[in-house]
Symmetry: C2
Subunit: 197 residues, 2 copies
Amino acid sequence: MSKPDESNPENVTPPAAVAEGGDLENQTTEVGGGGVSNIVQRWQREDLLKRSSLALRCIGLVFSLLAFVIMVSNKHGDWREFDKYEEYKYVVAIAILSTLYTGFQAFRQVYELSTGREVVSRPYVGLIDFFGDQIVAYLLISAASSAVPLTNRMREGADNIFTDASASAISMAFFAFLSLGLSALISGYKLSHQTYI
Amino acid sequence: MSKPDESNPENVTPPAAVAEGGDLENQTTEVGGGGVSNIVQRWQREDLLKRSSLALRCIGLVFSLLAFVIMVSNKHGDWREFDKYEEYKYVVAIAILSTLYTGFQAFRQVYELSTGREVVSRPYVGLIDFFGDQIVAYLLISAASSAVPLTNRMREGADNIFTDASASAISMAFFAFLSLGLSALISGYKLSHQTYI
């Protein structure tokens, strides 16, 4: 075991503890030279990941909410009512689900950042994040994709406020998908570097 | 460090090497009591994961190929030709992509299992698996979702061999999505328990 910096007594402790064979398990740091600087690096990286996943969820929340509001307010009489088309109703349903999910996740993360307490215990959070983000992302891309052809076909005939509003709601759902898809990738990365210490 | 089975001298080597402090880093095993039995358990788990991800990709390959063949052969003259509808052409395009991707991955895994050599070097495989599976799964669910409403609407008017073949191609694409989505979850799990030894 190389100890590159013994002038600071704190640097000695982690490798010594490891050498005594107590907590060999679950170390995922890539210790290159010094132990402490790497742990600090890992903390910084984890902090950055937390912040970016919070940011992505907030973006996802805004876009899902926009998709929901734009689609629900898309009622202009006659055939130009969103609830006459099941594709648009699907978009609304998934936008509600995605709003609830991202809202809950963003609330949880903000609460944890501000108070330091955990709403969901540690090992489960990673899995819930990963599965949740991915499933909601699948649903969002599915809803957006199903509504695109209908809107395209309508726009061939007439281009009015109804088709424009539908198109923008679909775009919002698609942006929400993008941010949740990215968030799922980050959750996967977090899961892959999860420490159990 | 407890050595549960010292009768076989080969079993002693890995814990001894660890105790001497060489490669302490990057251990993700959850060693409860004995070191060796846990390493064997990890090998068995990794082997199971490899086999299940290979199986899922083969299933994905079969379903993508079926989706492609069924949709491409869906030409019955007049309006009953798949290439008159962009949704169906989208399904064909994604089915081709998914066939190529799953075919390559299945070939790579079979080659690695049979020869023991690596086609793609270790740290990248996990990432390619994870991103690739996920992106192809997104594309498949998007294609299937976009083609469903058109088929539903056609079936309200007439239920013939064209709509039946379309519906079955869409189902195949959906099953391919399911197997690739599961495979993406397994890739995420593999990534999260990746060892660099």
